[in-house]
């Protein structure tokens, strides 16, 4: 899902305008000084301080993902709070191997999530297929199916690494950066 260089430069040049156009409703309003900018600031602050991942674990990495919610690592400190229903979740942590049979289900869950949505590929399996890369039924990386925001390497990554990944995502939101899905749409379809 990598972005081409030209798209990257275009994004950085358009920087502020693109950020203000984060919300389609706001994009329609070009007088982005009076009301829209403060609204966008507040929205970015909120998105940077609240992140509800969906519980979606398919293999051993999921054990580490569960640990992250436990008292020792306690992601509740950062406002990270697991929700069961994809409708209310902000990001999907793909924790584990994705088989060819699982892939359509994963895509369905992703499509059930509400925009803006983010995907975190946790572990070697989610990034590239990992140790099962050459298996006949293993998807070689979730980015073949969905746009991925954060890659967390490891087999499995430590809980601290997952927390770091989530915090990086939240920092990007706070800075008003677009999600991978939004960048992809901008690149391919020309709008958010």
């Amino acid at each position: 899902m990598g972005l081409s260089d030209s798209a990257d430069t275009r994004l950085s040049q358009e920087g502020a305008a693109t950020v203000a156009a984060d919300d389609p409703a706001m994009a329609a309003d070009d007088r982005s000084g009076v009301l829209v900018a403060p609204l966008q600031t507040i929205m970015n602050w909120a998105r940077g301080h609240s992140m509800w991942p969906m519980t979606f674990g398919t293999a051993c990495c999921a054990i580490e993902m569960m640990t992250v919610g436990s008292p020792r690592y306690d992601t509740d400190r950062f406002g990270i709070f697991f929700r069961n229903s994809p409708r209310q979740a902000d990001c999907m942590i793909v924790a584990g191997t994705i088989s060819l049979k699982m892939a359509p289900r994963m895509k369905l869950l992703y499509e059930q999530m509400a925009e803006p949505k983010y995907v975190i590929a946790m572990g070697a399996c989610a990034i590239s297929g990992g140790p099962f890369m050459h298996g006949y039924n293993v998807v070689n990386g979730v980015d073949q199916i969905m746009p991925v925001d954060i890659y967390i390497p490891g087999c499995p990554p430590r809980p601290e690494a997952l927390i770091n990944g989530l915090l990086t995502l939240m920092k990007r939101n706070a800075a008003g950066e677009l999600s991978a899905a939004q960048r992809y749409r901008l690149e391919t379809e020309g709008h958010l």
Partner: protein, 387 residues
């Protein structure tokens, strides 16, 4: 002028309620966190005080999904039906003697009538979502409502008999010096249990039991509509804790500052309310969820008979004196607590005997013998290592 005053009162009361709701949300996450040896929110504002705002604003900014195949009008209206009655309750709720929306003759009756609308919204949400988990959640909400509203109303009857009024401020004023939790311990416990079911807190959070029903009635709701359900739920937590402290804990009465129904009485009322809310969250952190059949059985077989007994005892007390009343109520309370403890014990015994039935007579776990041929002994054995 009167219209202006009314409008101002409505705005002030709504603000007071919503501010308290946000505090309750924050308290839940902090208290639950510390009870589970975690920290709870820390990074957003002072000790996470702004966390509810961040969550709410983020939810506002999300896509509003109305799935295909839903029953559209019901689906759209359900969160509103959940939210409005939860605020409407405060029309008849006194904070202190002089700060009350409408001091109705039938105040407590009206509060009951309005709160009974909330499960209807859940049923709407469950039915209209076109999702099996939502539907089960909605039906559970209805079943729960029917089996808990009745004992709750009967438990209130004792309080109304003692105060000889349904006006909430009269009930509070009748508690000068002697709170009804002392005169009516059995009714207070019944009310507290029924209250937990009413506000859908663990162990009675059947309509949205997360580990069974994904999100229960909330499953298909996103964005603002989910936020409305979420906020309504916490308003209800606050409402019922407030009612509990008004009916049983003496409301704005207190020994120190403010004294009897002065303006500072509101401080007393809020202190008591937050104590009750703490109990609610404490129970949530302690107990696992019951099954729906256990829940309805508890409501009909235990709570309702005891509530009727409590009313009977109160009637005796009204015709004799408070001492007789307290003694009889304490006996009833002891019986109630013993019965509930016994049920828990029996459930534990049943589980243990079930587990031991799956073991060998010498108590060792049955494991398949690796040496035996496949299909002989291993066909009937269970793997129960370490169970």
């Amino acid at each position: 002028m009167i219209a202006l005053k009314t409008l101002l009162g409505v705005v002030v009361i709504a603000i007071v309620v919503l501010v308290n709701t946000i505090v309750v949300m924050w308290c839940e996450r902090k208290w639950l966190g510390h009870m589970q040896s975690r920290q709870g929110p820390l990074r957003t504002g002072w000790h996470g005080a702004l966390q509810p705002f961040a969550d709410a604003i983020k939810l506002l900014g999300k896509e509003d999904i109305v799935p295909a195949n839903v029953d559209r009008p019901l689906f759209l209206i359900a969160p509103i039906i959940a939210f409005i009655p939860s605020l409407l309750t405060y029309a008849a709720m006194p904070w202190i003697e002089s700060f009350v929306g409408a001091s109705l003759d039938v105040g407590i009756f009206m509060v009951f009538a309005i709160t009974a609308i909330f499960p209807v919204s859940m049923l709407f949400a469950g039915w209209s979502s076109f999702n099996k988990y939502s539907l089960i959640g909605g039906f559970r909400a209805a079943a729960q409502q029917v089996s808990y509203e009745v004992p709750m109303a009967v438990a209130i009857a004792g309080v109304v008999m003692l105060a000889e009024s349904m006006r909430i401020s009269d009930i509070v004023n009748a508690q000068h010096g002697l709170y009804y939790i002392i005169l009516q311990p059995c009714a207070a416990i019944l009310f507290f249990i029924a209250m937990l079911a009413e506000i859908n807190r663990t162990p009675f959070d059947m309509p949205e039991s997360e580990s069974e029903l994904v999100g229960g009635i909330n499953t298909e709701y996103s964005s603002m509509r989910f936020a409305l359900f979420f906020v309504a739920e916490y308003i209800n937590v606050f409402t019922w804790s407030l009612i509990f402290s008004l009916l049983f804990l003496g409301g704005w009465n207190g020994p120190l500052f403010g004294g009897w129904d002065g303006p500072l009485g509101m401080v007393w009322l809020l202190l008591k309310t937050y104590a009750v809310i703490f109990m609610v969250f404490w129970v949530r952190a302690t107990l696992p969820r019951v099954r729906i059949d256990q829940l309805t059985a508890l409501g009909w077989r235990i709570l309702l008979p005891f509530a009727l007994a409590s009313v009977f005892i109160t009637a005796i007390g009204v015709f004799t004196n408070n001492f007789v009343l307290i003694v009889l109520e304490v006996i009833a309370t002891a019986a109630l607590v013993w019965l509930i403890a016994r049920i828990g014990e029996r459930a534990g015994e049943a589980r243990r005997s079930e587990a031991s039935a799956r073991r060998c007579s010498d108590g060792s776990a049955i494991i398949p013998d690796p040496g035996s041929s496949p299909g002989s002994a291993s066909g009937t054995s269970h793997t129960e290592v370490g169970a």
